[in-house]
């Protein structure tokens, strides 16, 4: 029998934690519920959950504090659940080390897909197993060759410029995860680079035109408005299929 994954739900609204817990139990997860920050702290250290669902608005402290505390000593996957609609909060949470975020109100299939993806990413060594094995990352018709520094699309060289390649390579390394605009800019143009979203956006617009069949409906690189970019994950198609069945 497969060992059940343990999910800690940190959420002060009982109606929400109750429904999440019901859904997760029905889908073969063990669930724990913490209603405030203090309780969450003790449960994290005593139960060592496989994943944390963290609501940012807690009665006794800012959820961001818990996020930072846990990140100081552990890589356990954390998904931030946020009712805040401003992108700033999502960016802040991702930059502080959250694996993903999910916005209230969310559907059950979306929640389950995010949880599966976050657990899978943490269990894959070296961020991306494929790259570690043969220096390549592939998804659909897209192949990033980290050794030869080029990107193939359906077997043909996409002729990316150096910066374009660096951006695609970075997204591929963290495929499935949202990388914030600032973190991409810092990585590509250096830590001292002035945050220039427009330069990044123009680069992305060019990349899309080289990689995607229809730049308006991309298959490989998605935009999270106001937050950043995300490369498609190998298992995303499977996830979507499973989500439909759920």
């Amino acid at each position: 029998m497969k060992l059940k994954d343990k999910v800690l739900i940190i959420e002060d609204e009982q109606s929400i934690s109750h429904f999440i817990s019901t859904i997760l139990s029905a889908n073969n997860y063990d669930t724990l519920i913490a209603e405030d920050g203090a309780e969450a702290r003790s449960m994290i250290s005593s139960h060592c959950p496989d994943l944390i669902l963290l609501d940012l608005g807690l009665p006794d402290m800012d959820g961001m504090d818990i996020l930072r505390e846990v990140r100081a000593w552990s890589n356990m996957p954390i998904i931030v659940v946020s009712a805040r609609t401003h992108e700033r909060d999502k960016v802040e949470a991702l930059d502080a080390g959250a694996d993903d975020y999910i916005e209230k109100p969310f559907g059950t299939s979306e929640l389950l897909a995010r949880i599966r993806a976050a657990i899978r990413h943490t269990r894959t060594p070296l961020k991306n197993g494929g790259i570690a094995q043969d220096g390549q990352f592939s998804v659909g018709g897209l192949t990033i060759d980290y050794d030869k520094h080029h990107v193939l699309i359906d077997g043909r060289d996409a002729h990316l410029t150096l910066n374009e390649f660096k951006i695609v390579a970075l997204l591929g390394k963290y495929a499935g995860k949202v990388l914030t605009y600032d973190s991409i800019i810092r990585e590509i143009w250096g830590p001292k680079a002035k945050a220039d979203n427009q330069l990044l956006r123009v680069n992305m617009a060019n990349i899309r035109r080289k990689l995607e069949k229809n730049p308006a409906a991309p298959e490989y690189i998605f935009t999270e408005i106001g937050v950043g970019y995300r490369m498609r994950d190998e298992d995303e198609a499977d996830d979507a299929k499973r989500a439909d069945e759920d």
């Binding site: 979203n197 308006a216 991309p218």
Partner: protein, 372 residues
């Protein structure tokens, strides 16, 4: 991160003043060669002063122009030429006239600008008040239905069949979804009115926005086919991406909920100095009498109870509010081949915060020809 293309105001005003006065001086010297006398010289300068006062900010440039005009009239264009003659008849009168014209025009201009700002403010207030009224009118019905349906299931003593219970819960789910959409629109309105009523714009690639909107839409309406088309050229459009995404979502949801559409097409292209977004569907289109008031929340609210689920007025009036705040235009039309087409155009150049220098917002509905 915002790019500043604009020259600072005083520099612009100084250049404008210099240009207008040079033009006046040039015109006078040309006319002196062909016409007898010099009676027109004063009028030419009056005209220049009028324009300077109208197009510059405050009184300073108009008054400076008046002084310059008076000196020119006296020194250059009246006998004895190239000499100042303070004893010239009518000299004080010329001076007072020019000064008065400048002060009066500047005052009027400032007043017009202020009234324009107040009108805009009033319009925004009106949009907000309209929305509140329309929403409080509409929000009670789904809430009543949720309370009623859930109570029916909870208090059931075994008389309801499994199928009946599911039907009741489905209604609850639908009503809750409707409330969520409503709240998202309210959030967009508060986001717009959050700061000092100004929105924060950033340069965005339109294909990113339509794709993100389409993916969000697909979560709610997985069975609607959405076709997306972006231009080959890289366009960067100043906008608040979350708000424009809300506009697209509202338009797409309208197409499905009110038009019964099964296919939606979003096309973005450059049209002159704007990026034009067109959302067209294969639904039943808008009733002709609704075309004119499609963007008016109250017009729908007044249509009565039977129309609750069809309250497209709220979504559309939020759309109009957002586009207006971007300095854009929005129109609705029925396509000859069936279905509705909503278009909105956003200016490609940043011009302050959706306003041009005169503090005006362009929002008149424009009929643009269909490109398909």
């Amino acid at each position: 991160m915002k790019q500043e293309f604009r020259v600072s105001r005083p520099v612009r005003d100084a250049a404008l003043t210099a240009a207008l006065l040079s033009a006046a001086t040039l015109l006078c010297s040309l006319m002196m060669r062909v016409a007898e006398g010099e009676s027109y010289v004063g009028f030419v300068y009056v005209l220049a002063v009028v324009f300077v006062s109208r197009w510059t900010e405050g009184y300073v440039w108009g008054i400076l122009a008046s002084f310059f005009g008076v000196v020119c009239v006296n020194y250059v264009f009246t006998f004895p030429y190239w000499e100042i003659n303070f004893l010239m008849t009518g000299y004080p009168l010329t001076f007072v006239t020019l000064l008065a014209v400048s002060v009066v025009v500047s005052t009027m201009t400032t007043q017009i600008k202020r009234q324009e700002r107040e009108r805009l403010q009033g319009e925004r207030e009106a949009i907000r008040a309209d929305l509140l009224r329309a929403m409080s009118h509409d929000i009670r019905t789904p809430l009543t239905s949720i309370v009623g349906n859930t109570a029916a299931v909870l208090e059931d003593t075994g008389t309801l069949s499994e199928e009946q219970k599911r039907a009741l819960l489905r209604d609850v789910n639908e009503d809750a979804q409707w409330l969520i959409r409503m709240v998202e629109n309210i959030l967009s309105v508060t986001r717009m009115h959050g700061g000092e009523g100004e929105i924060v714009k950033d340069y965005e690639a339109p294909e990113e926005i339509i794709d993100a909107a389409a993916r969000k839409f697909a979560k709610r309406f997985p069975h609607t086919e959405v076709l997306l088309e972006a231009p080959e050229e890289v366009l960067m459009v100043p906008m608040d991406a979350m708000l424009i995404q809300q506009v697209l979502l509202n338009l797409m949801e309208n197409a499905v909920i009110h038009g019964g559409a099964s296919r939606i097409r979003i096309h973005v292209g450059r049209e002159g100095s704007t990026a034009c977004f067109a959302v067209s569907d294969n639904g039943c289109g808008l009733p002709p009498e609704r075309l004119a008031t499609a963007f008016d929340a109250l017009a729908t609210a007044h249509r009565g109870r039977s129309d609750r689920k069809k309250n497209m007025g709220i979504g559309l009036s939020v759309c109009r509010g957002i586009i207006k705040a971007h300095g854009g235009t929005v129109t609705a039309e029925n396509r000859p081949e069936g279905g509705a087409c909503f278009r909105f155009a956003l200016p490609l150049q940043e011009d302050g915060n959706g306003r041009n220098d005169e503090g005006e917002t362009r929002y008149e509905a424009e009929g643009q020809g269909a490109d398909y």
